[in-house]
């Protein structure tokens, strides 16, 4: 009975134990604090020489970590708040994502940048955002998001073993999610390879009739989508299949949809994408575009995302901007009704 946080922490411990090339860099990562969200707790006690607490210099220490990676070490960098990825864009886009390729393709850059995105904690406009979409479509960069429906620590360990750079997108509220949440005991899931080492989980209500709707989601929103899925099944008799993707980019092999998603869509002909980032130019737009491009049938389509607004601090204002279970249910209901009509 462990949480996403415990799984990620165990993944880091396991990676550091297994490979002495693994280093941790980030702000306030030393014990007893163990990082702002405690993902790095215990590491500096167990491996004092390989956990480096940094000055508040995100661009600088991501660059330093790139130098470590180019020199054969395997750094894992923590960016304390996902919002601060704006500070590392040059290092990511003009640096670490390109060095392998532009120098002829033989260099490895085994570097993981972990960061928690997301709101619902009242941290306000610069500490609550979901910004990974800014880094989708960057050639040479893999963008992953762990899920309670798969194996968060296992995904992190695989990312650390990856010879190329990874942006590993966590979520603040997701940390306390249980991997075997009893609230989800009525759900069953099938796992398959999404792409590379990333997994796709196809989640449905056990024993339910044939699904009418496919929901695509990742990270914390996948878990909210699962809550919506249960609510729809029990209260509205709308049956859905939730496809949880660990890898946001590249989305699927050779520019296609991930197979799990394509398989589900063939059955339902109806797609709802769900994400916490702002609506316009979001992850869902790419998923929808690929679905339409690759699907033989006409699809019902809708997207759930945050309003195109900064994230306010006030509880009621924040809730009005970010998508929750009821927003997902409402969007699904509308989509299914439109198709039935």
């Amino acid at each position: 009975m462990s949480t996403v946080l415990e799984s990620l922490n165990a993944g880091l411990h396991g990676a550091m134990e297994a490979n002495e090339s693994v280093y941790i860099l980030g702000e306030d990562v030393l014990d007893p604090y163990g990082g702002a969200f405690k993902v790095t707790r215990g590491l500096s006690t167990a491996y004092p020489d390989r956990v480096i607490t940094t000055p508040v210099s995100e661009a600088g220490f991501v660059g330093v970590a790139t130098g470590l990676a180019l020199s054969g070490l395997r750094p894992v960098v923590e960016i304390m708040f996902g919002d601060f990825v704006t500070l590392i864009t040059d290092q990511v886009i003009n640096g670490l994502s390109k060095y392998g390729w532009m120098y002829g393709g033989a260099l490895e850059i085994p570097l993981v940048i972990r960061t928690p995105m997301g709101g619902r904690r009242g941290y306000g406009p610069t500490h609550s955002q979901t910004l990974e979409k800014l880094f989708l479509g960057v050639p040479g960069l893999r963008v992953l998001a762990p899920s309670a429906f798969t194996d968060p620590g296992g995904l992190l360990r695989a990312a650390i073993d990856d010879p190329g750079p990874v942006l590993f997108v966590e979520n603040k509220l997701q940390y306390q999610r249980r991997l075997d949440d009893p609230a989800f005991s009525a759900l069953e899931s099938r796992l398959q390879v999404q792409e590379g080492y990333a997994t796709a989980a196809t989640v449905g209500v056990a024993g339910a009739p044939r699904p009418q709707l496919t929901i695509a989601a990742y990270g914390d929103m996948a878990e909210r989508a699962a809550e919506a899925q249960l609510k729809m099944a029990y209260e509205l008799e709308i049956f859905s299949e939730l496809v949880v993707l660990e890898q946001l980019d590249p989305l699927g092999p050779s520019g296609d949809l991930p197979r799990a998603l394509a398989d589900s869509l063939r059955q339902t002909g109806c797609l709802l994408t769900v994400e916490e980032g702002t609506h316009t130019h979001g992850w869902g737009a790419e998923v929808v575009a690929r679905a339409v491009e690759t699907s033989a049938q006409k699809l019902g389509i809708a997207r759930v995302a945050a309003f195109d607004s900064p994230v306010p601090a006030s509880r009621v204002l924040e809730a009005s901007v970010l998508p929750d279970v009821d927003v997902i249910v409402g969007a699904a209901q509308k989509l299914v009704a439109a198709l039935d009509g």
Partner: protein
């Protein structure tokens, strides 16, 4: 070959290479851009004399001279600028983004400074005494990430030599319009000692570099070497806003090859000049005849 002759030859190889680039650019054989090192040859040659296997070099947009002084292949560099399959990076990087052995360059000013710092730190973490030499110009000093990197370099004792080639002009902007304070002061503020030298004499630069590199290697600490130097050619090509007289004055007083020439006898100079001219012309012709890269759609 004596040290004096070797340095002369090394500087002349860079000079003739760069002159060929500028000369042939209008014919369309090169694709993209270039930033030539004409006037600054003594820096690369004087400094990279003192590195050894295991050391790394990170360069900037003006990287051809550094690369050739590092021991890089001239035909491969010509071919890279032509975008040929035989280019050092197969035509992916072009003039500003080259890599061979432990030599790297990136065209975004300042961007490589933390990366080079991390490479130095890696050596210290592994416990070897390899060092990193990273080149930047005065223009790059405006980029904030450099100061983040210097702070960490000093905190974590990264064995890195930060070389500033101060040609006092950033593209077309003179240093007086872009920089407050001093360059050594920027390093000293972080506790990184800075050795400053105003010279285009390869022997003087080599001596200063040998001291600075010994400090880095033996002391295991970061150091800066700030060289007041002169760029004779345009920032790129055809974009020089300085007066002809000003440029001629630089040639008259600070040509590294002229300064060094008196240390060799004229016959030897002529022999070396002929040898280098032949090498450059053969490398150019070979690169020109090399094949274009295979086009992979969605090259990854």
């Amino acid at each position: 070959m004596s040290d004096a002759a070797a340095r002369y030859r090394a500087m002349l190889r860079i000079r003739r290479f760069e002159e060929t680039i500028l000369d042939k650019f209008p014919t369309g054989v090169f694709h993209g851009t270039t930033h030539t090192y004409i006037g600054q040859e003594a820096n690369a040659v004087g400094i990279l004399d003192h590195i050894r296997e295991g050391d790394s070099v990170f360069s900037n947009h003006r990287c051809h001279g550094h690369f050739l002084a590092y021991g890089g292949d001239m035909r491969g560099l010509f071919a890279e600028l032509m975008g040929k399959a035989t280019g050092i990076c197969g035509g992916r990087g072009g003039s500003q983004h080259i890599h061979w052995r432990r030599f790297y360059s990136n065209g975004v000013l300042g961007s490589a400074i933390p990366v080079a710092t991390g490479m130095g730190l890696a050596g210290r973490l592994r416990g070897d005494d390899d060092i990193v030499v990273v080149f930047m110009g005065d223009g790059a000093m405006g980029e904030g990430v450099i100061y983040e990197a210097l702070n960490m370099a000093a905190l974590w004792r990264a064995p890195v030599l930060y070389v500033v080639e101060n040609n006092r002009i950033a593209q077309t902007t003179p240093i007086a319009l872009a920089m407050a304070g001093t360059i050594p002061g920027r390093f000293e503020g972080f506790g990184v000692p800075a050795l400053a030298i105003a010279s285009s004499d390869v022997d003087e630069i080599s001596l200063a570099a040998s001291k600075a590199i010994a400090e880095v290697r033996d002391g295991g600490t970061p150091q800066a070497l700030v060289i007041d130097t002169n760029r004779f050619a345009p920032h790129s090509k055809g974009d020089d806003t300085r007066s002809q007289e000003a440029i001629e004055a630089l040639w008259a007083t600070s040509c590294p090859i002229e300064i060094h020439a008196s240390r060799l006898d004229p016959n030897q100079r002529e022999e070396l000049a002929a040898e280098v001219a032949e090498e450059v012309s053969q490398a150019f012709a070979a690169a020109l005849a090399d094949p274009e890269p295979d086009v992979e759609v969605g090259a990854a």
